[in-house]
């Protein structure tokens, strides 16, 4: 019995806390993607996924935020119906919206790095609004750049055609999501785990 126990290598308690949050957030993005509203102006549906990408970066920071999104992509690839309109499968990752999906971990990491200035998390009340807005805008640019470039390539459209259908129509919705993300973290009811 003793030898058996000694071989157990427990996951550190602070890692467990961050990991559990990352996993639940990944599931939450799946819930947000359940109802994709098809949007007549674009070949991509309007969903709330991006809002949770924002929150992942803000609340979990660059490492665990990015991990959470990577886990989201892995779960979808493994057959958990977390992509828009309850779809799943590796095919979606290579499909026409694949560029957006691959951008999520990068966007979350970017937000985390800008807002927390590194891997130790800061109290979000100490971060100026300008920095938060700047981080969210930068992440949004990454998401749409990757989304449109990939779409133009995989569907053989010109880049400009892709941008007009895959980026521009979403700008108003994106502003709403940014506002919501800021309101949520400012409400103080969800705070980063800092130790």
């Amino acid at each position: 019995m003793a030898t058996e126990r000694n071989s157990v290598d427990l996951v550190d308690d602070t890692v467990v806390r961050q990991f559990a949050r990352a996993a639940v957030l990944a599931a939450l993005i799946g819930v947000a993607a359940l109802v994709g509203i098809p949007y007549p102006l674009s070949p991509a549906p309007v969903t709330l996924q991006v809002l949770f990408v924002f929150l992942a970066g803000l609340v979990l920071g660059p490492v665990w935020g990015a991990f959470s999104l990577l886990l989201y992509l892995t779960a979808g690839a493994a057959g958990v119906p977390v992509f828009s309109n309850m779809t799943a499968g590796i095919g979606v990752l290579f499909g026409q919206t694949g560029g957006y999906l691959w951008s999520y971990p990068i966007a979350a990491a970017l937000i985390g790095v800008i807002v927390h200035r590194g891997t130790t998390l800061r109290d979000l009340h100490d971060v100026s609004l300008t920095v938060v807005v700047g981080a969210l805008v930068a992440a949004t640019i990454v998401i749409y750049a990757m989304g449109s470039v990939y779409m133009s390539w995989v569907l053989e459209m010109t880049l400009w055609e892709a941008v007009t259908v895959a980026a521009l129509p979403f700008i108003p919705a994106e502003i709403v999501k940014m506002t919501a993300a800021i309101a949520i973290v400012r409400s103080g009811r969800i705070t980063p785990v800092r130790s």
């Binding site: 057959g79 799943a88 499909g95 026409q96």
Partner: protein, 234 residues
């Protein structure tokens, strides 16, 4: 909804790693080729895969209907030009062929989803990705699978909890923000309780992995996967 269904098909009997390899090989070559001839060959492969997993094409197309809508739109968008001739048929055909290969990739992955329980995917991840990242991704997939319905249930009970005390009398904005913030705090509370549960049950870096083994069936299929991957370069 397209999900795993227990069955005895050829695809169900394959090791999940083999099936992952086939999908990746197929996607690689499909992304590299849009000639009608290549697409014809890939269509045959797709048909075989779907047959091997006994996937109903009609049902699958219904599940991917939103994606299909988009794939159908793309050639139109590509074809439209500002100014004469207003519609460029060559552009539209090129985009149409490109869209078609995306459809094939989606169908092949549908065969995986239909034939592979999440538990097998988890095992494949833990066996394939080395070290701690592989462990966390593997367990994480199982947790996402568990929490997806739980969080949906939370949203339902929040709405019911509000309705029972006449929350319906509040403004739409007030209601939406209450549901949003409550949904989030509840999810994070769940995460914090989940971490206690994991700790209490000895969550470790080196657990016993779910067992996986290649059978004789897997080897020819693996060869096919490698062939598909290499064909991306020809």
């Amino acid at each position: 909804m397209l999900t795993y269904e227990p069955d005895e098909t050829l695809a169900h009997r394959l090791d999940p790693r083999t099936k992952l390899a086939v999908q990746i090989g197929f996607a690689a070559t499909a992304l590299a080729h849009t000639t009608p001839r290549a697409l014809a060959v890939l269509s045959v492969v797709t048909a075989l895969v779907l047959f091997g997993a006994r996937v109903s094409i009609r049902r699958t197309l219904v599940d991917y209907r939103f994606a299909l809508l988009i794939l159908a739109l793309a050639p139109l968008i590509a074809g439209v030009t500002l100014g004469s001739p207003w519609f460029d048929t060559a552009d539209a055909v090129a985009s149409g062929l490109a869209s078609y290969r995306v459809l094939l990739i989606l169908l092949v992955s549908a065969a995986y989803v239909r034939s592979t329980p999440v538990r097998d995917s988890r095992a494949a991840i833990q066996w394939t990705i080395p070290g701690k990242p592989g462990q966390l991704l593997g367990i994480g997939v199982a947790l996402v699978f568990r929490f997806l319905p739980v969080l949906q249930g939370d949203l339902r009970t929040i709405r019911e909890g509000m309705a029972a005390r006449l929350g319906s009398e509040r403004s739409a904005v007030d209601r939406a923000s209450t549901i949003g913030i409550l949904g989030l705090t509840r999810a994070f509370d769940r995460a914090d309780r989940l971490s206690l549960a994991l700790q209490a049950r000895c969550f470790a870096w080196n657990p016993t992995l779910p067992s996986l083994a290649f059978s004789r069936l897997d080897y020819p299929v693996l060869v096919l996967a490698v062939a598909l991957a290499f064909s991306a370069f020809v």
